[in-house]
């Protein structure tokens, strides 16, 4: 959409600006959108810390196992409950798996499910919500009642039933979580759309002869993007937590695969025995990952807000 920079010669800038009867200096070479967005993003120290942590955790999960090689398929049972130190930096669990190595493998699953489930749920939910709000009337009522119906069913129950029917894997987990999560972004985006569609710039599209899809995808969705982004980062955190919860209930990914939530729930069995390394590391990783994504989301919302950009 942007107009090529070649169109504006420097001469036009200096000549035109002072004579502009509207006044105000409209000069200076504009910088790229990405760069200006990054400036706003980088203003938030928390977001930078969050991004740093996310990069670290991705490296930890996918590169880590190549550096810190552990046995994560067969169980050397004689190592069970060994304390941190020596060959096992964070000790071992009740089956003799190395905890640090297991955190890496579990993280791969938690992160994959978290990110993909959130992406699927938010994309579908946003389009659904925007369509519902934009069309309005009876269709809107109907579409929103469907959302209410989905929200009113206890999601743990749904997933438990599904898990019994379909063999759980990373892929099916993504599908299940997206299936129960999409109504939340849908409701938020619909609310935003309801207020956006009455804006004059949406009417302006109509006056120029433009159709509904242009109004929706060109004007309403980009303006609702802030809401969608924030919701998406919550969705990542929530998906990781839902996966954890299922693991905790014993309906998570089947062994030997695991995720942070399953590790935590298993560790909790030994809370009275003082095996802290089975509880704190997994819990801490869940919390810090969720918090990091929320920080990033907050700053991203500001970064895509062109009104906050500086020249």
């Amino acid at each position: 959409m942007a107009i090529p920079h070649t169109e504006m010669s420097g001469a036009v800038v200096t000549e035109a600006a002072p004579t502009a009867p509207g006044g105000g200096q409209i000069s200076a070479k504009p910088r790229s959108l990405l760069r200006r967005g990054w400036e706003v993003f980088a203003e938030s120290k928390l977001a930078l810390a969050g991004s740093g942590f996310v990069i670290f955790i991705v490296l930890f999960c996918w590169v880590g196992p190549h550096i810190y090689v552990t046995q994560q398929v067969s169980t050397p049972i004689e190592n069970a409950y060994c304390t941190p130190g020596g060959a096992h930096l964070l000790g071992c669990d009740n089956l003799g798996y190395d905890t640090l190595g297991r955190l890496m493998v579990a993280g791969q699953n938690s992160l994959t499910v978290g990110l993909l489930a959130a992406a699927v749920a938010c994309t579908f939910g946003a389009i659904y919500g925007a369509a519902s709000g934009f069309i309005g009337g009876l269709v809107d009522s109907l579409m929103m009642r469907i959302v209410d119906a989905v929200l009113s069913i206890p999601y743990t129950l749904v997933i438990i039933v599904l898990v019994v029917i379909v063999h759980p894997s990373t892929l099916t987990m993504i599908g299940f979580i997206a299936l129960i999560y999409w109504p939340q972004p849908a409701r938020l985006v619909r609310g935003e759309t309801l207020s956006l569609r009455t804006r004059e710039y949406v009417q302006a599209v109509k006056v120029a002869g433009g159709g509904r899809s242009r109004a929706m995808f060109r004007h309403i969705m980009p303006n609702a993007i802030g809401v969608i982004i924030v919701q998406a980062t919550f969705a990542v955190a929530d998906s990781i937590l839902i996966l954890s919860l299922l693991g905790f209930l014993g309906f998570g990914l089947p062994p030997p695969t695991t995720d942070w939530g399953s590790m935590l729930s298993q560790g909790l069995n030994f809370i009275n025995l003082g095996y802290w390394w089975l509880i704190y590391p997994a819990g801490l990783l869940i919390i810090m990952t969720c918090v990091s994504f929320n920080f990033i989301g907050d700053a991203l919302r500001d970064a895509v807000e062109s009104r906050l950009h500086r020249r």
């Binding site: 502009a20 509207g22 004059e200 302006a204 120029a208």
Partner: protein
């Protein structure tokens, strides 16, 4: 007489992310007991901040950085928050612009006023309620004892402002600060409120500080006026002197930018070039120098002091303008080069372009969330017919809720007609095919009131301007870009503006952008809905000049919708006056202004404040009484009868037909017109031919 309030070298700063805004920069003022001082200026000049500083109700990050505020000789700028609370609402009362957001929607009117009394007086709840009844009665609320138990939403805008005034007066303050008290109200209500404030000032012997941007309001109300510019006082004197002999070039320019000052519609308005300076880094020297036509190097280097040659008249200028220079018309033209030389006249007025035939628009009034039962109809437009010829400017004027915006939306196709026909170039648009309709759309474009709301904040100006072309599949990418650049030139924006986002433009620039977008498709008719209402006088003049200029260049036809009679008169060839969904009078602009036939038109003209103290104070008529009735149950017969001073029985029974009056195409619908009719009433059959 010792002044009631004395500001000395007051400085107020607001800390923002980008730096410190010097909102008020060394203001010295005094207000005597019982007088009305007006602080006037454009938005961002620091007039509201000055008022808020007195009450110390500054926005977050704001603080008084220096100077003193003395009330009755007592320094109040250094008082603690607790001590100050005794003064707020007690010695100084304040009214704000928006009466809806200033009242708590969950508390009854009576309780809100009683609360103010209880805070400052040692009285019982019952006594406080008694006082509430008393003040509400004082501000002219009918049936006070019943209404005191009602909530803010049950009051109309004008009534809410009366409640606000009552609340401010509850503790008998010595000073009332009114911050744009009537800006959100219609002219007829504005007149009532301003008269109420003035009447109360006299009866209660309090002083009033009136903060406003409207020179007309100042002319009618103020004893003395302080003109502010960029955080400083530019000129201060008594009202009569200011209007007859302004000395500061800024004051002079403000007057010349007023549309009602232009002798006739052909004149260009004087527009102050540029925009006010940034108060984060204020310029050295005179702050007005960059926009001043008399400025020299001295002005840009050295700051003039606020001095006076005559007692009571001070101004901040090295080269004050003399009384004689105001009448010099040639000067205005010579300095106004914002749009280049005036080209020869355009194609002029031609055949009928738009024909509105008995338009009706009703909105259903529904109840219930899911099963929306219809419980009635709101009659927004009722049987309105008129024609607009190509090349002319048709002004549609009326109070809010009269249906003028609805007509605009019907014409551009944003709303569907309930009844009647709109013919454009002889064709009924509603009957054309979808493809044809899409093409016809190009020829009718809308210019919105709020340019900020009508430009997508996430699109660059270039993309915004290109969008109509993209939608209509006109030209290649390259051609579209060329057209964008060409249009930016036309509306006086630099080509680099294409890279900017809407929020990076000033209000006037955004309105130019909105106008450029409307022009992209080469339309024949532009419906302009209050295009300058949100702009300051000087910027308004720039936009009006541009609109006139481009009308000539492109042979455009305008349907100009506004509540501002001055603007409508300046721009329009013909005027239609609407009241509650009905067209009550139509005719040539000058004819309707000088010899209105309908009492409503007369009342509207009387209500509109004129920037001339002598004329404004000489007005004896009371404007229009009462408030706009509901459009769900409009009055029978003539809809204006409930507020009309001339109404008789027949007005309630028979709807008055359109009747011709002296002057070509001058018609009005009234049983008791203010002048004799020159022909027989227009019957339905002959209406078509006659109302052109």
């Amino acid at each position: 007489m010792a002044p009631l309030l004395e500001l000395t070298d007051l400085r107020t700063e607001i800390k923002l992310r980008e730096g410190v805004v010097h909102a008020v920069d060394g203001v010295s003022l005094s207000v005597d007991p019982g007088e009305t001082l007006a602080i006037v200026g454009e938005s961002g000049c620091g007039k509201t901040m000055t008022a808020l500083s007195i009450m110390r109700l500054l926005p977050p990050g704001g603080q008084i950085a220096g100077g003193s505020i003395k009330l009755n000789g007592q320094e109040i700028s250094t008082l603690s928050e607790d001590e100050l609370r005794n003064i707020r609402g007690n010695e100084i009362g304040m009214i704000f612009q928006d009466p809806l957001t200033s009242l708590n929607p969950t508390m009854t009117i009576g309780n809100q006023i009683a609360e103010a009394v209880l805070l400052h007086r040692d009285v019982s709840k019952e006594q406080a309620m008694e006082r509430a009844v008393e003040v509400l009665d004082l501000v002219g609320i009918p049936r006070v004892r019943e209404r005191i138990k009602e909530y803010p939403h049950q009051f109309s805008g004008g009534m809410r402002q009366r409640v606000m005034i009552a609340m401010a007066l509850a503790c008998e303050p010595k000073l009332l600060i009114a911050d744009e008290p009537t800006t959100a109200l219609d002219v007829t209500i504005q007149k009532q409120i301003l008269e109420l404030i003035d009447d109360l000032r006299r009866r209660l012997g309090m002083a009033v500080i009136l903060v406003t941007h409207d020179l007309g309001v100042v002319a009618g109300q103020a004893d003395r006026v302080a003109v502010m510019y960029a955080g400083k006082i530019a000129e201060v004197t008594d009202t009569t002197t200011l209007f007859s002999h302004p000395r500061h070039p800024y004051t002079e320019a403000l007057f010349q930018a007023l549309p009602d000052k232009a002798a006739d519609a052909g004149d260009r308005l004087y527009s102050i070039p540029g925009i006010p300076p940034d108060l984060v880094n204020p310029p050295v020297g005179c702050r007005f120098a960059a926009r001043c036509r008399y400025a020299t190097d001295k002005c840009r280097e050295e700051e003039p002091q606020l001095i006076g040659e005559v007692a009571g008249h001070e101004f901040r200028c090295f080269y004050p303008v003399g009384p004689s220079e105001r009448s010099e018309k040639g000067r205005i033209a010579a300095y106004d080069t914002s749009l280049g030389e005036a080209p020869p006249a355009g194609p002029g007025i031609g055949d009928v372009l738009v024909d509105l035939d008995r338009l009706v628009k009703d909105y259903p009034v529904t109840r219930g969330a899911v099963l929306q039962r219809r419980v009635g109809w709101l009659s927004a437009v009722s049987d309105v017919s008129f024609k607009i010829r190509s090349g002319e400017t048709f002004g549609l004027v009326g109070e809010s809720g009269c249906g003028k915006t609805t007509i605009g939306k019907l014409v551009v196709g944003l709303e569907k007609l309930t009844g009647g026909v709109i013919r454009f170039d002889g064709k009924d648009l509603a009957k054309s095919s979808a493809r044809e309709y899409r093409k016809e759309r190009r020829k009718i474009q809308l210019m919105f009131q709020d340019s900020y709301a009508s430009l997508d904040p996430r699109m660059r100006a270039g993309a915004l301007l290109r969008e109509p072309l993209v939608i209509q599949h006109i030209g290649s990418r390259q051609e579209q870009h060329e057209r964008v650049a060409e249009m930016l030139d036309k509306v006086g924006l630099p080509r680099t503006a294409a890279e900017r986002y809407p929020h990076e433009f000033s209000g006037g620039q955004r309105q130019r952008l909105g106008f450029a977008r409307a022009l992209m498709l080469n339309p024949q008719l532009i419906v302009a809905d209050e295009p300058v209402s949100a702009l300051d006088v000087s910027i308004q003049a720039q936009v009006l000049n541009m609109m006139k200029e481009l009308q000539r260049q492109f042979g455009l036809t305008y349907m100009f919708i506004s509540h501002d009679l001055g603007v409508i008169r300046y721009l329009s060839d013909r005027i239609g006056v609407m009241y509650l969904g009905k067209l009550v009078e139509i005719g040539p602009a000058e004819e309707v202004y000088l010899r209105p036939a309908h009492p409503y038109t007369r009342g509207l003209l009387d209500s509109a404040p004129v920037a001339d103290p002598a004329q404004e104070r000489a007005k004896v008529t009371e404007g229009v009484r009462g408030e706009l009735p509901s459009a769900i149950h409009p009055p029978s017969g003539c809809r204006f009868r409930t507020r009309c001073p001339l109404a008789q029985e027949i007005c309630a029974e028979v709807e008055p037909p359109m009747t011709p009056f002296a002057g070509e195409g001058h018609f009005a619908a009234c049983h008791f017109p203010l002048q004799a009719a020159v022909g027989s009433p227009v019957t339905v059959a002959s209406e078509q031919a006659a109302l052109s």
